[in-house]
């Protein structure tokens, strides 16, 4: 059943079953849209709302796609920042607040947690596809084990070539680096492994 798939907050090892009684495997990618459709309770409604709250700097992905929502209950939404200094953190909280208020969830609190620290491994498969379609090379999985030097060249999100080179270790936001494709000569953003 779909029940087994939607309870996973990406990267969270084990959530207590709670009232839903669902179980999950951490290997199963979480599909938020499906999760929202499959549930009729408040948590489902909140998840549905969150799946349409975009990241302010990379609007092609939602806060759920990015894996920055750590827990959702009828009482609260817990989020975690991507980078300690990410200027989008406040904007994200405000967008979520507005979405909740507009749908009658003014009583749902938003809390922030730092631990465990966010990892790009928590970006969902759907999120990765959206990034690619948007022109941003998604980060490889295994961020925690991988070297931050980005030893492997990413695939160009435009032409698919792996013949790419790093232009700048930092890009237009803290979470991205600037790369160039040698095959199609287009520059592109790469979501950094974090």
């Amino acid at each position: 059943m779909a029940d087994e798939e939607f309870s996973v907050i990406p990267g969270l090892a084990k959530r207590e079953p709670g009232t839903q009684g669902q179980t999950h495997s951490s290997a199963t990618p979480w599909v938020p849209d499906r999760a929202a459709r499959a549930r009729n309770d408040d948590v489902g409604a909140i998840l549905g709302l969150l799946s349409s709250v975009p990241d302010p700097e990379i609007p092609c992905v939602s806060v759920l796609d990015l894996g920055i929502v750590r827990e959702v209950s009828e009482a609260r939404v817990i989020i975690t920042p991507t980078y300690t200094g990410c200027p989008a953190t406040t904007a994200i909280e405000q967008s979520i607040r507005r979405a909740l208020d507009d749908s009658g969830f003014a009583n749902v609190a938003i809390e922030t947690t730092l631990s465990p620290p966010w990892s790009t491994d928590w970006i969902t498969e759907a999120g990765r596809e959206k990034l690619r379609a948007y022109g941003i090379a998604p980060p490889p999985k295994g961020a925690n084990a991988a070297s931050l030097k980005n030893a492997q060249a990413p695939e160009c999100p435009r032409c698919g070539s792996f013949n790419t080179e790093e232009l700048s270790r930092f890009g237009s936001t803290p979470c991205k680096a600037l790369w160039r494709c040698r095959a199609c000569a287009e520059p592109f953003d790469r979501f950094k492994c974090h």
């Binding site: 980078y83 300690t84 200094g85 947690t113 730092l114 631990s115 930092f170 890009g171 950094k192 974090h194």
Partner: protein, 253 residues
């Protein structure tokens, strides 16, 4: 009665002040760096540092319990109340000097946060674990530039050597321990910084070898930042950073 200041307040304050001043210094490059690539890098590193400072200073304020948050601690203290190490307040100078400062400091932060991420006090551990990923990236970035400049042209090499030579005298302070450190360790919130020195030496030496540079000659260490004895430079930095709150106390928007 004598006022008692919690050692954990001071401990968090020192961590926050280090990051804040390092971040403020780096942000002075924004729009002035030698190349766009470098401008982006330094501004992003600055952003991470200021983010870390926000967390540590908010924590310090919470420990103190006098309704001071991170902003109050950053913008409404005078120079002698700052507890940052002297290394981070050193002026940017030329690009090599900025890189030398960041290189020495980021490798220290990487080791420090790796240690702090494992302390019992979850408030300190959580910030450190989060920041560790960021400073690891900074250390790599700075190391790459040390190699590029050190093993670069005659000019870049000479500047890199001179910069490391200047910054070196401020590195002993990073590993100096005092009563605050001892109290923080006892409370499960701190680590033995002196014990990080050999690992730091090894990291620095490895990069310097890559850069075909030798280690700078030993200098008489310059200390005092932790006790609020700063160089003239910090006052100038604060006058810019704190301008708005000095001119319009309590302003918000």
């Amino acid at each position: 009665m004598a006022k008692t200041v919690s050692p954990l307040f001071t401990y968090a304050l020192r961590l926050g002040d280090d990051s804040l001043i390092a971040g403020q210094r780096l942000s002075e490059w924004c729009g002035h760096a030698p190349a766009l690539e470098v401008d982006l890098s330094l501004a992003n590193v600055a952003l991470d540092q200021i983010g870390q400072a926000t967390h540590f200073l908010n924590l310090a304020g919470a420990i103190e319990g006098k309704r001071r948050d991170g902003d109050a601690l950053a913008f409404r203290r005078d120079v002698m109340d700052f507890t940052n190490c002297l290394l981070v307040e050193q002026p940017n100078g030329d690009f090599a000097q900025t890189i030398a400062r960041q290189f020495l400091f980021s490798h220290y932060q990487a080791l420090l946060f790796a240690g702090l991420a494992a302390v019992k006090d979850e408030r300190f551990a959580a910030i450190a674990a989060k920041a560790l990923k960021e400073v690891t990236y900074h250390a790599t970035l700075a190391s790459d530039w040390v190699v590029r400049l050190g093993d670069g042209t005659e000019e870049s090499r000479a500047r890199m050597i001179a910069s490391l030579d200047w910054m070196w005298r401020f590195t002993d302070e990073l590993f100096t321990m005092d009563d605050i450190d001892a109290a923080a360790i006892k409370a499960g919130a701190g680590i033995d910084k002196a014990a990080l020195k050999s690992a730091w030496d090894q990291r620095i030496d490895t990069v310097l070898a890559d850069a075909t540079l030798g280690r700078p000659a030993a200098r008489r260490p310059v200390l005092g930042g932790r006790a609020g004895r700063h160089s003239e430079h910090l006052g100038h930095l604060l006058s810019e950073m704190q301008f708005l709150q000095r001119a319009y106390p309590g302003a918000t928007w």
